[in-house]
Every structure is written in C-alpha cells, then in structure tokens.
Symmetry: none
Subunit: 197 residues, 4 copies
Amino acid sequence: MKMKEKKALKRESIIQTALQLFSANGFHKTTIPDIAAKLHMSVGNLYNYFSSKDILAQEIIKYTSEVLGEKIRVVNTMDISAKEKIYKIVEIYFRMAKDKPEMIEYFLRVYLSNREVFNDGCEGMVCVSGFITEIMIFFDDAVASGELRNQDFFSAFGLFMGYLGGMVFLKGEGVLPKGIEYYIDDISRNIYNALKN
Amino acid sequence: MKMKEKKALKRESIIQTALQLFSANGFHKTTIPDIAAKLHMSVGNLYNYFSSKDILAQEIIKYTSEVLGEKIRVVNTMDISAKEKIYKIVEIYFRMAKDKPEMIEYFLRVYLSNREVFNDGCEGMVCVSGFITEIMIFFDDAVASGELRNQDFFSAFGLFMGYLGGMVFLKGEGVLPKGIEYYIDDISRNIYNALKN
Amino acid sequence: MKMKEKKALKRESIIQTALQLFSANGFHKTTIPDIAAKLHMSVGNLYNYFSSKDILAQEIIKYTSEVLGEKIRVVNTMDISAKEKIYKIVEIYFRMAKDKPEMIEYFLRVYLSNREVFNDGCEGMVCVSGFITEIMIFFDDAVASGELRNQDFFSAFGLFMGYLGGMVFLKGEGVLPKGIEYYIDDISRNIYNALKN
Amino acid sequence: MKMKEKKALKRESIIQTALQLFSANGFHKTTIPDIAAKLHMSVGNLYNYFSSKDILAQEIIKYTSEVLGEKIRVVNTMDISAKEKIYKIVEIYFRMAKDKPEMIEYFLRVYLSNREVFNDGCEGMVCVSGFITEIMIFFDDAVASGELRNQDFFSAFGLFMGYLGGMVFLKGEGVLPKGIEYYIDDISRNIYNALKN
DNA sequence: GATGAATGAGCTTTCATTCAT
DNA sequence: AATGAATGAAAGCTCATTCAT
C-alpha cells in the first residue's frame, strides 16, 4: 500500500514537472533527460513510470483536463444564472492562466499542435473529455432553462474554447496591454451576448 | 530579370510546399529533406532560398497572413453592414479552411505552438500583422458607424481569431459532425451578437 | 566509485585517440565519427564525455601541455647547470617528438593554427600554461643564478617554443636529412649561446 | 596582350584577397563563396583562374614566399656584416608582421597546419623555396666569411623560421605585452649569439 | 526500484565544384 | 569571360530508448 502510494505520488510529480517543461519549451524541445534532471531522477527510472514520451504527454493532457473540468463542475452545481456561470468559467480560466499558466499553455502549445503525439491514445478528444463534458453540461442546462439559445453544441463549445484560448495566447505573445483579468468582464459579456436567447 | 522572376517563383513554390508539409505533419516532424524531396530539389539548393528552417517558417507565416489579410481587405472596402461583413469574414475563413486548409492549420499548428521558432524575427505578432490590421480596420469602422459596441480591441480580436481557429481545430480533430461551412450561420451570428451595440 | 574511475579512464582514452587523429589528419579533417569508430564507440556516447568537438580539442591541449610541463618540471628540480638543463629540455622535446610525435604535432598543427577553436576557453594561452610555467621557472632560475642574461621573458620563450617547434615541423615535412635526435647537440648549444650571460 | 595582363592582374587580386581571408579565418573556415563575394566576382568565374581551393592555397604560399624572399635577397646583396644582416632580416620579418600580417599569418595558420592541402604540389617545401633559398644564401655567405659558425643548415634555418614565427604567433595570441618591433633588438642579438663563430 | 552509459538513426546545415546560360 | 543556381555528400550534434549493474 505504502509502496503504491509512493509510486502514485512520484507519478504525479513527474506529470507536473513535465507539464511545466513541455509548456515552457514545447514538446519537441523538451527532452526526457531534461525532465529527469529537474526531478533529480535518472532517465531509466522515469521510464519505469511512463513507457514513452508520448504516453507521458497523453497522461498530462488527461490530468490537466480533469483538473480544469473539476473546477467547472463546481460552477455547474451552483444555483446561479447562466450569465453568472459564464462569468465564473471565464474567471476560472483566466485565473488559472495567471496562477498556473502551464496548464492552459499545455493545451495551446502541446496538445493543439502535436497531433502525431496524441493520435494513438487520444483519438477524438477523449483525453480532454473531462473539460468538454462540463462545458456540455453547462450548455445543456442553460438551454433547458431557456437562458441560452438552442444551437449546435460545437458552435457554442468552439466559442468558449477558442475565445478563451485565443486570449491566453495573445497574453503569452505579450501583445495584451493589460493583465489577463482585465478582460474577464468584456469576454464574459461577449460570450453571454453571443449565446443568450 | 528573367532570372529574378524565376527565382521568385521558385521561392514561392518552396513556401507553398513547406506550408503543406508543416501543416500536415508539424514543424518538427517535417524535415528539410522532406521538403526538398517533394520539390524535386536538392537540400543544398533549398538553402539558397531560405537560410534556415526557422526563417522559412517565418516567411510562410508572413505569406499566409498576407493572403488572408488581402481577402479581408476586400470585405472592408465593401459598402455593406457590419453584420454582413462578419458573415463574409467567417465565410472567407471557413472556405479557406476547406479549400486551402494548410493555411489555417499553419496558424494553429505551427505558428501558435512553436514559439521558439518565431521568437527571433516575429516578435509581437509582426509576422501576422497583415491579418490583424484588417480585423482592426473592420472593427474600428464598425464601431465608428455605431454598429458595434466600443470595447477593447483585443477583446474583439480574440473572439475572431480564437473562435474561428477553434472551430477549424475541432474540424481537424474530426469531432465536428458536419462540414465546416455548416457552422457559418451560427458562428457569424454569435460573433455579431457578441459585439453588436 | 568504480563507475567514476571507469568514466575517467574512458575519458582519457578518448583524449589520446582524438589527439592522434587530430595530429595526423588535422582538426577539420578529423570527424567525430572517425574518433568514435577508432574507439569502437558510438558517436552519441562520445558526446557524453565531451560536449563538443571544440571542447574536446581544448581538453587535449590542456592534457598535452600538462604532460610536457611535468617532464620539464623534473628538469627544473635537478641540481645541474642551465646549460645542462637546456640540453635536457631539448632532449625531452625531441625524444617526445620521436616517441609520441602526436603531442608535439598537436601543438603545431592543431593548437597553433585553429584559433577559432580555442578562442572561447583557451584565451591568452591558459590552456598551455602547464608548459609555459615550467619554461618560465627554468628561465627565472637561470637568470637568478647568473647563468643566463636577463632579458624579456617572451624573447626567451619564443626562442624555445619556436625553435623546437620549427625543427619538429621540418621533420614532419620530411625535409630533415637526419633523425631529429641528431640535432639535439646543435640546437641546445645554439639556445645556450643565445641566452647565456 | 591586354587580355593577358588583365587576367594576370585579376589573378593577383584573387590571391591577395584569399590570402587575407585564409589568414584571418583559417583555410577551412574560408569558403570559395566568401572569397568570390569579397571580390565582387562569381564563384564560377573564380574557378576560371584557379582550378580548386587547394591549388589557390598553393599559389598563395608560393606568392608569399616569393615576396618575402625578395626582401631578404636585397639584404643578402648588401655589403654589411652578418650581425647587421640578421638584424635587418628580423626587422623585415617583424615589420611585415605588423604591416601585412596576413603574409606571416598565412605561414603559421594555413601552410603550417593543413598538410593535406599542400601535399600534392608543395612536397618538401618547394612552395616556400623562395624564402628558404635566401636564408640559405645568407647563412652560407656568413659561414664563408667566418662570421658564423659552420653547422648543419637546418639547425640554423629552424632557428630563424621557428623563432620569428613563434614570436608572431605570440603576438597574434595577444600575450606579448609590447609591440612586436620592441623585440627586434633582443631577438636579433639572440640569433646572432646562437650562430656566431 | 534506481542508475546513467550506451546506442544509432536522424536532424539541420555547409560547401567545393559543376554547368547551362 | 562571367554568372549563380544546383548538386549531394558529409559534417556536428541530438535524443528517445534500452539494459547491464
């Protein structure tokens, strides 16, 4: 038991370290020795936890998607309006982009663009279902309650994912004149206006 | 003269071939020999046209941004409402995503995610200014005419870029049940609603 | 412990093999694969010991300079006249040129002529200080004892280094009609005459 | 006739430009395109004058040796003592090292160390005979007149060539605290003392 | 479980030389 | 004589992965 716990902990610490490095430097520019070195661990041992670099990358996206989905789940269970939920989701996303930028950056810089890495194992977004599912629940609820217009789910999902991701990308490029939180009001209003009934 | 023309033509054919390969397989998975082979050209000669792989990638993003900007420029000069312009821009973008998917994919899968490649030479989005400038002109005009709400430009720009890019990404992932054109109506309406006065 | 020893040994065997190849064929004509092949070692592994070809070349000159310096140090501690010391130094140098010609040749054909390789890391002869220091000690002692004329150190050092190196170069070119040891008498007498009080 | 003259002039301008570049950057680091570019000439055309890079390097050493030999020839014809001749030769050499350093550097950095380049065509120092011959004449004359001790020519030649070359090398390394002319007195005295009867 | 030396295929880039124009 | 695009072999170096210890 102790053993298994310890192994699980180490597993997670690998995920978090690799997440940081992949986000900061890109998947291909981050080497397994880089990750092992930052963890004061041997490369050989790292392979005892993850059987390949690709598998590691896939586990990271699942983990990240789960963490983000969890936070949105909390919002979904709140008894507030769709407008307020949108505000909270945007807030969560941008706060995360500020506090743990590596998670959001991972979506943008690793998951988005290294298709070959995720092809075998993450087909059709199964590795990000944790996040998508919650957005879907939010959207269905709000449509059912009559607050949001009934439309194709992907039209709405693309808005969330693309808009929020796009803003974080702009932030990362250093082109946004203000801090990312500054845009929470504007963006949540824009999203609400776009989707409202 | 003849010489220079021929060289310019070859230069462009390199750009287009590299664009396709980078988009399809990613920047790091596409090798210079791959590009040269597809062009029936020697590796060495390719370097007579572009002094490094990074420089080539930068020239491609400039080229792509220019082509896309050009198309939006046409819309900007039309005497139609902002709502109609939004529709046309979305249409252009999605049509392009269908007919020349490599250009849009290049934005998403190469430019967006390989920061280190564009760091020296494309600082602060200068390489995509062709595209951004036109969106800016569209937005300023529509605000001036009172059709769109006056808000931070980046809030609006992120909506365009992120939303459209996000949809194309979903298409590329194979998760969209319908063809990309199907979403033109929804998405242009959502954008208009988000930004209208 | 064992591990470290083994690694140190392998490191030295790389230095010696590379020394031979660089001396025989020149720095630029000797490739890393050449060195690895002669060592029955993979190219990648060689880079586990020396991070670049230039660094390897620098380590070799330090090593060589140390070995040569060591031998002269022995002479410096002997209780003999300056004239006899000069004879011994010339003898050591020429004997080495005969028995381990690669060391002397390395000075002449690699260190002397590939400035760009040694620019970063061996500025101002720090990599050959092992040898220079001993010559300096010899000279200072002999001046102090009144056997040699007091003059600018570099005037004396250039005589040693240039003269001995020049002779070995001539030998290497195949223009010397006699074996190199034949010249020990002449050259040590000439040096002594040049420097004596 | 005009044609031939023009060609000869261009030939010499190639030699001088290549001499500078080879001396400054080394033989292997200097490319044919580099040389052509500095001459505002096409690479193809450069090959009309010299059939290979190696041949060019050989012609340069012949040219350089000739120029240097010429200057020493003047000294040889003077009616002065051997001691004075030595002084003048050292002076010529160091003055040249200061005014046209590329010639001396070429000896040290190109000729000395790229044996493979000069193997076919410059066997046994035939390409530097212009210089050697004059030193030989000087030495024979001075021995005949009884001013210098009769000894193996190479023992004497190595002294000249090695000592002078060594000093210029030290200068090039930036380790000499004074200008190179400062050493003329010391060095010519040392050489004279070494060789005198 | 842990180590890190070893592998070797594969990458980007260079450059002497040629040759059609 | 002059051009410079084209060739292609070969270089230095990287890194995911394995395996003996």
